[in-house]
């Protein structure tokens, strides 16, 4: 098996493991105290002005009906329109939006390459002159691929220019930030050039994807495309190791913290988990804390020296 193909497998494995580890880190973190921040979009009839169920008389005696539709709507606006950035940082939004939309399209492009590869393995031709399914997959691959690469590349270029030119921003940029954006620009540029010159219909790349999907030896599609595959593989591996995989954390930041207004009820699972946490020993060492005692003990007795 060519080294390039092994590299792609390794990249995919590392990306998967790193992403999973990141999600698990947050998923397994202990239950925290309430720290929500309004507006919370699932507050039915109140989200628009930032209200909550705490506005109701005897709120605990009334059923809570979270507005999941509004929550999903808010999420979609955040994911596809970057609503928060639009409202609070327009100069970043004009680059960040195409960058993110480009990335979504690139993900769609990789998915379409995989779908096309599987269909080809199943004997279904993928091309502009094939059957309806083959035509559809062909055009979606082409549209997603070129649009995604152009948008993400230009967006990354714009963000790079913003980071380099904004005097308020510059002191907070690490070299890693510049590198990350530069890598996106470079990968998008090389991939675009590679595809347009050597494989405009993504036929060779689909063939390579089919080899990956079937675990068969890939025939390397020329030097430029090989360089492109190496770069994309490295990028896939690199993203989860950096803050660029912030979409994982953002899910938890919003759902577990910012929008988490779940009230604690007697005898609930939430209450049980909290009681369990109180049985841990405290190691803080300030004079007013009984180091070594359990939380449940420390919070009930004041230490007097």
């Amino acid at each position: 098996m060519p080294l390039v193909q092994i590299l792609t497998y390794v990249a995919l494995a590392i990306a998967f493991i790193a992403m999973l580890a990141k999600a698990l880190k947050y998923f397994t973190a202990p239950q925290h105290l309430r720290w929500e921040l309004y507006p919370v979009p699932h507050e039915k009839g109140r989200a628009e002005y930032g209200g909550s169920y705490l506005e109701e008389l005897d709120w605990w005696s009334k059923p809570r009906r979270p507005d999941l539709f509004n929550e999903i709507k808010e999420m979609m606006q955040e994911i596809f329109l970057l609503k928060g950035v639009y409202h609070h940082n327009r100069k970043v939004w004009r680059f960040s939006l195409p960058f993110h939309l480009g990335l979504y399209l690139c993900i769609g492009w990789l998915v379409m390459l995989l779908v096309g590869a599987i269909l080809e393995l199943a004997g279904i031709a993928i091309s502009a002159s094939a059957d309806l399914l083959g035509v559809l997959v062909h055009y979606l691959t082409v549209i997603f691929g070129y649009a995604g690469l152009i948008l993400s590349g230009l967006g990354a270029l714009g963000l790079l220019q913003w980071r380099m030119s904004d005097t308020n921003q510059r002191p907070y940029n690490a070299p890693a930030e510049y590198l990350n954006l530069f890598v996106f620009v470079a990968v998008a540029a090389v991939t675009l050039i590679g595809q347009l010159t050597a494989d405009p219909g993504f036929v060779a790349l689909r063939g390579y994807t089919a080899s990956l999907a079937s675990f068969s030896r890939a025939a390397l599609p020329g030097t430029l495309l090989t360089v492109e595959i190496v770069m994309v593989s490295l990028l896939i591996m690199y993203i989860p190791l950096t803050r660029m995989s912030h979409f994982v954390a953002k899910y938890f930041l919003y759902h577990s913290v910012r929008w988490n207004d779940q009230p604690n009820e007697r005898g609930s699972k939430l209450e049980q988990s909290l009681m369990k946490l109180l049985q841990q020993n405290v190691e803080w060492k300030a004079p007013h804390i009984q180091t070594g005692s359990r939380w449940s003990e420390v919070v009930k007795e004041m230490k007097h020296e």
């Binding site: 947050y26 929500e36 705490l54 890693a176 938890f252 405290v282 190691e283």
Partner: protein, 537 residues
């Protein structure tokens, strides 16, 4: 050092003072304060600054020690690192580990938070007050000193920061240059909460090194747990205050209202910020009058801590926070009340209702409600009768961050004030997007050294400008009555101090107070004139 040159790594630079506030360069205030000139901050007497590190900005509100020997400094740095490790473990920080990790790991350094911060804006954009600056100091220390390989990659990841006592001491001071209003978090596209990070830094210093603002700890939670109240009012003294307030209420209204206390199995335990007892007894009297006339079955408590809803632990650490809130739960449980109603105090709302929600467990889990909701029910359902004409003067309202941004209680108080005040107008912005009064996170009670001057001119400046902008030029004429409603004790204290500092009583005759005072002022069962206009109090 000029502002443009300052970088995060400068936090550890060997210099007497990293930044200084030039009060002549602060942003201008609106009419009638265009010509206002803030005096320079007063010098801190040598005796008070001795052995203290104030090298961030020369402002003293948290007594960070300045050891004489390098060995002592190294010991403190080691202690800090030990505390930082604990802050990042589940066992020691289960209370906020998840939100903290998420906020530390995922900032994309876009600086959106900076434009949302009134302190940064009104300081004239002093770099160290940028919300991102403080968080970056902590992130870089973690990255370089607690992450495997962190030193090797420090240059690349931007974590090039020196770990010395100046860095740590200035970080402690930086944690007390944020009101924890969380306005920055609201605008962060990622959901990162710089306010939480500031609080977690305060927690580390308090729970591991015992470094904390004395007004919050020794004079705050410790005094409250030992004497019954952070004001020092003991249960015995409380009885005298009840008696005084009943007489005062009679003098003001002609009504004989008894303050019920320790009544078992009442429907409501009403719990006030004890600062009201000393500074604004008319607020407590107004609540008593409203609840009695509405015929509610309610009580106050005279048990230790049960008559003071204050919980300064919210502002600086979890253990004292839990100790105080559990005392509140214990009192409510012992009285057998059906619910606890939190009076006009924003941070008490959050400590008792939101934080308490995951601390008042099992049988202590007694329902809790905001007074805004209780009052709304009484006014909107006409359980007390109102003549809005009695409040026919310009009124605006300040939104306490803890009640609005952190709890989503926005409209009940608005429905009340709109019904009882025909000339009510909003500040811009308001509600969930409000600006902090500048006294949040305990600032309002920090009255020593040069800190008050900083508090009035930097974090409080935006609120003062908002208050002025809520009224027209004609209305700002000192001959006309006007009122700022601040339904929170800490905010009210800050607004009182702001009006005082800016000489606003003489210049504009703006009066301030709570929501219940406005209600009583409009009640037809009460003789007119509950709000006093002839003096500033």
């Amino acid at each position: 050092m000029s502002r443009q040159q300052l970088r995060v790594k400068d936090i550890g630079r060997k210099t007497d003072q990293l930044v200084s506030i030039d009060t002549s360069r602060l942003p201008k205030l609106p009419y009638p304060y265009e010509d206002w000139e803030d005096p320079p901050y007063p010098e801190i007497p040598e005796v008070k600054r001795a052995n203290k590190n104030i090298s961030l900005d020369g402002i003293l509100n948290v007594p960070v020690p300045e050891p004489e020997t390098e060995a002592e400094k190294e010991e403190l740095v080691a202690k800090f690192l030990e505390g930082l490790r604990k802050l990042l473990t589940s066992r020691n920080n289960w209370t906020f580990l998840k939100p903290l990790m998420l906020s530390l790991d995922n900032c994309v350094r876009c600086n959106t938070c900076s434009d949302a911060c009134p302190m940064f804006e009104m300081s004239g954009r002093v770099e160290v007050y940028r919300p991102l600056f403080r968080s970056e100091v902590l992130r870089r220390i973690i990255k370089k000193h607690l992450t495997p390989g962190g030193r090797l990659t420090a240059k690349f990841t931007g974590a090039d920061i020196d770990l010395n006592w100046d860095t740590i001491a200035r970080l402690a001071q930086l944690a007390y240059r944020c009101t924890l209003c969380r306005r920055c978090a609201q605008t962060c596209p990622m959901g990162v909460d710089n306010g939480l990070i500031a609080r977690e830094i305060r927690k580390l210093f308090s729970q591991e090194l015992g470094i904390v603002a004395p007004e919050l700890h020794v004079e705050g939670t410790v005094k409250q747990l030992e004497t019954g109240s952070s004001t020092g009012i003991s249960p015995t003294a409380l009885m005298d205050l009840f008696e005084f307030m009943e007489e005062d209420l009679h003098d003001r209204t002609g009504l004989n209202i008894k303050m019920p206390f320790d009544k078992p199995n009442a429907d409501i335990l009403l719990i006030h910020n004890a600062g009201e007892f000393l500074s604004w007894p008319e607020n407590i009297e107004a609540f008593a009058l409203i609840f009695e006339i509405a015929g509610l079955n309610w009580t106050l408590s005279s048990e230790m801590v049960g008559y003071d809803s204050v919980n300064y632990g919210l502002f600086y650490e979890d253990i004292q926070l839990a100790r105080v809130t559990l005392k509140h739960a214990e009192v409510a449980k012992k009285l057998g009340v059906k619910k606890v109603v939190v009076a006009e105090c924003g941070h008490a709302h959050k400590a008792i209702m939101a934080i308490g929600d995951r601390v008042w467990l099992d049988e202590s889990n007694i329902p809790r409600e905001s007074c805004m909701v209780t009052l709304e029910d009484l006014i909107m359902n006409e359980k007390i009768m109102i003549d809005p004409e009695r409040n026919n003067f310009p009124v605006t309202m300040h939104d306490p961050c803890n009640i609005t941004r952190s709890m989503g209680i926005i409209e009940p108080q608005r429905r009340v004030i709109k019904k009882i005040c025909p000339q009510f107008r909003e500040m811009t912005p308001h509600g969930v997007h409000n600006y902090c009064c500048g006294g949040g996170s305990g600032f309002a009670i920090m009255q020593s050294n040069n800190f008050p001057n900083w508090r009035f001119t930097v974090p409080g400046r935006k609120k003062f400008a908002q208050i002025l902008n809520a009224f027209t030029r004609e209305e700002l004429d000192p001959s006309r009555h006007k009122y700022v409603c601040a339904p929170c004790s800490n905010c009210k204290g800050q607004i009182r101090d702001l009006l005082n500092y800016y000489d606003a009583w003489d210049r504009t005759h703006i009066q301030y107070g709570g929501l219940v005072e406005l209600i009583v002022n409009a009640m037809t069962d009460v003789r007119e004139g509950f709000i006093e206009w002839d003096e500033f109090h």
